[in-house]
């Protein structure tokens, strides 16, 4: 596969994991020390360090997966990602030293059990992707969302 095809496959696998509620698969798409940050656009653009969620490393990602399954109370909902095409910002190295930076737009729809599907969260992924054992993995996913007024709560990863 060409690098772009591989990147598209990574995005598709991510969307399938978080829309299919497969939280273990979500964790597995990151490197062991992978970083996930969900940040309102305002904080990002003003250089304010607060994130809505800020996880560094597999342990924290697993803790979120556990919390979703076991500890967070929330009204049940489905989410559905529509992810744009990755825009290649930088590509360097090869093999284990390969490192790709991309920007990808997304929109997430939320559907509650007795309600219509609504636009839940839109924004962009700023990713750093590396190769581990032959496969592309997220070393860092910075999710910068435009939808700063969150419709009540965000339980599942975007």
């Amino acid at each position: 596969m060409s690098p772009i095809a591989e990147l598209i496959a990574l995005q598709a696998d991510y969307a399938a994991a978080v829309d299919g509620a497969d939280w273990d698969a979500w964790v597995a798409l990151f490197t062991e020390d992978g970083v996930y940050r969900l940040v309102p656009r305002e904080n990002h653009e003003r250089g304010l360090p607060l994130a809505t969620l800020a996880f560094a490393g597999e342990g924290m990602l697993k803790d979120r997966a556990y919390a979703i399954r076991e500890t967070l109370f929330h009204d049940p909902y489905y989410q559905r990602h529509v992810v744009g095409l990755p825009r290649l910002l930088r590509h360097e190295g090869s093999g284990d030293a390969e490192r790709i930076e991309t920007e990808t737009h997304y929109a997430v729809f939320r559907t509650k059990l007795n309600g219509p599907s609504t636009v839940f969260n839109v924004g962009r992924y700023l990713d750093t992707v590396v190769r581990r054992a032959g496969a592309l993995r997220l070393a860092r996913r910075l999710v910068v969302y435009d939808s700063e007024m969150i419709p009540n709560s965000i339980i599942y990863p975007i």
Partner: protein
Amino acid sequence: MSTASAHPRAPAWDGAGTHRIPFAVYTGDELHRRELERFFYRGHWCYVGLEAEVPNPGDFKRTVVGERSVILVRDADGELHVLENVCAHRGMQFCRQRHGNRKEFICPYHQWSYTLGGDLQGVPLRRGVRQEGVVKGGMPAEFDPRSHGLTKLKVARRGGVVFASFDPEVESFEDYLGPTILHYFDRLFDGRKLVLLGYNRQRIPGNWKLMQENIKDPYHPGLLHTWFVTFGLWRADNKSELKMDRHHRHAAMISTRGNAGKASDVSAVSSFKADMKLHDPSFLDIVPEPWWGGPSAVMTTIFPSVILQQQVNSVSVRHIQPDGPGAFNFEWTHFGFADDDAAMTERRLRQANLFGPAGFVSADDGEVIELSQAAFESKEGGSALALLGGREVGDTDHMITETLIRGMYRYWREVMERP
């Protein structure tokens, strides 16, 4: 009750008590408008921001008092002003940026310009236009710019926090809080310079009072919030105190962490998970700070507009911004202190994962509020119960009580049932 018969939609209380709260207090436009007038616009101080959000001359922040748009701005002399975001000419909400820096405010509609203190300084074509030697149009000769400034709110600053009131007759901020709550305000805002860490915003489809009640309810955190009970951050057998001002409108819930993982009466709940271990314990890398003076959590509700949060090392202000009876916007401003080292800043940011609209703990609160409101709007004549700890209102040395909710509604009734 006389009010009930005179007005069929007025909430029907159970006698003089407040242990049974009619669903009707959470619904209805007329009652909501009366609340805005009596709590947000008259006789009360409302939170508008931190001085750290407007550190330099010309810095402004757009926010709200109740449902009215206001601007917090620092003028060239460093003074803070809070101005209503309504042009004195045609009423336009002229300021659209959420924050920024200005030398003056200009309404785009007709270019009326105002100083940062809210005084009208320029009216285009005020003296008309000269055509063929004759002045045509313009404002009447008696037009006095001094009487056409922006609405200026009264401003109180304390410890780096700014409050404002539309009511020029409002008591001092210190009297408003009263000595008990002022003590807990000063504990958090003790004069150290604050550092802005960032914002989270959420729109909760529930009545604004439910958020005040959520933080006047020490019963739920150790039950709803698995993390709190399991890791001992907040559980019913922790050493705790509940305190109010003399009007019972403000409150502080004061608690000291303990009993993590221990079995007792309080762990016999389904949300307690004895075998739960974090894959990454650094979420709870708690380092006691000297200013705590003991308690590891103090949650202070300042009626009607703001909650002051200290939960271990995470500190924030949570601004309640009503939007009709059935929804409010909830804005979290996390901060630190100028004397924090890099590790403490990192710790505060990491612990922020517990709070906010996606927090391991706080995401639940918005959800339960939404589901309460759904019932309030569908079940006419229903009521909620706040009977834990009896029917009385008073300070306690434990948290197995809903006394703070009863206290808030005692005050609410005093104000709302006035003619």
